[in-house]
Subunit: 161 residues, 4 copies
């Protein structure tokens, strides 16, 4: 079973450029996890875009849906910024016959206290546990694509119901 990890940007992949004192989206954090951790999975990484999720447009979401649909894999991990992750999950909800899991991080993967490894661990496990469907894994929880929102004031994901 090959997993396709599509990186579209977001906090999880943020790095810091000292020269400019600025924070930018870097390499997919999942790539480094596959090196640093004792993971034995066949994962192909696709760096699709490198965007803050607040800057993501409908055209970007259409590109993500297309990438998921056209992927040769039916197990797709999408690493994504947190702010509009539920919107992208909804855009992906129509995809059929695949398991798609979106995750990201509230703190960049390069931070000492990042939730990135924990979240990606959860997302990869859901990909192997669910036959099909679209899910978000954040805050230790597994959400259905159509039943999740991010509360930006609380900085956490919640069910709609």
């Amino acid at each position: 079973m090959k997993i396709n990890a599509i990186a579209v940007g977001g906090t999880i992949d943020k790095i810091y450029f000292d020269a400019k004192s600025k924070y930018e989206v870097g390499e997919p954090a999942v790539r480094k996890m596959l090196v640093d951790l004792p993971i034995h999975l066949d994962v192909e990484i696709t760096p699709l875009m490198a965007k803050d999720s607040l800057e993501m447009t409908d055209a970007d979401r259409a590109d993500i849906v297309r990438a998921v649909e056209s992927s040769s894999s039916d197990k797709i991990l999408v690493t994504h910024g947190t702010d509009t992750m539920p919107e992208t999950a909804r855009a992906l909800a129509a995809v059929e016959g695949k398991t798609v899991v979106l995750t990201g991080a509230l703190a960049p993967a390069i931070f000492k206290d990042s939730d990135a490894q924990f979240n990606v661990g959860g997302a990869l496990a859901v990909l192997q546990s669910k036959e099909s469907g679209v899910y978000i894994v954040m805050n230790g929880q597994v959400f259905d694509a159509l039943n999740v929102r991010k509360d930006r004031a609380l900085n956490r994901f919640l069910s709609l119901d």
Copy 2:
């Protein structure tokens, strides 16, 4: 949905006592994760025993099975040493009506490069994704309790088939 996390020891919980230059099983690593990471789950931690898994006896396994069966929760995380985790999974395979996921770590949770957070993230996600059954989450993979072994030379988990 309340999750019961039963800690029985193993590498994941190992700490180091400088005075004795020895490595011993300490507090459940999951407890610190619930503090350090933005996890929003109702988890009750039960420190059942604190053993290297190589030292675990049949009586210990019977105690673990009893603790799982008598738990008021039907979603049980078991953090466990890696060497005999498959044996304990098999002992638990007869438990009915509950989802039980065993995980641990190849490097202690207090190590910079530990797989503990990644593994526990995966285990918690499987608890929420599977109706029932007994599973091991290690190396990024989700194994059925009756189809997994640890290859100690390779220091990784593999399917039997």
Copy 3:
């Protein structure tokens, strides 16, 4: 011997605000080190300003000189942005009867691979080893205030000679 740690900002103290996807100067990183590490020193922390060193003006430097001169301590640590650290060191070079050590970090203290602890360890040791004078500790080296520059292309500190 009391040490006065004056924080003026810079990469070492940078944190990340998820809500705004922006990187800003936060609490003095030295404060957290005094909690996290087994340090037994009498250190008083003075958060003087919170600036990227590229935005630091002559007026800011005059404020720093004044803070150093008026400090009740004669052992002063200054945590500072790296880009103009040598300029501030030169501004401080006229201070008499005190040992002043400037340091900072090329990667924020909250990053897994930050040089912050290593650098501050060096700076605190120089404070205790030199009778008086102004020094920069970066890249594992101890530089005299009047014999140091930052090569921004190489992202490292070098002696002038």
Copy 4:
């Protein structure tokens, strides 16, 4: 100025062997720091022995003194177990014409919360700040070789006076 880093073992270099659930002295931690951190120093590493400091004998101390005396460098870093570091410092106190700094760590360098980088940063700075003499850098403090003890109950270093 070349620095010679002589590693003799101790907690700083401890690693963990999962297979045996045991903790052993591994590679000199300083070697990895020179790779991981932006250090620009000419350091030659000499792995002399790999001992818990409680197991160190007078013969071992004589070997360390000989290695320091015969080193082509006159700036010597000794990474050492903490329990008998003061004894070795005293054995080295007779060395003339060199600066010798001993350090180590209360938690192994591979631990998330290790003081290893902080301590080695301090030790390297003292090597560059003192003309000659033998020093211990621990707990953020710089101790004279003849005026330091480790209080094992408090797990910290103290001056004799």
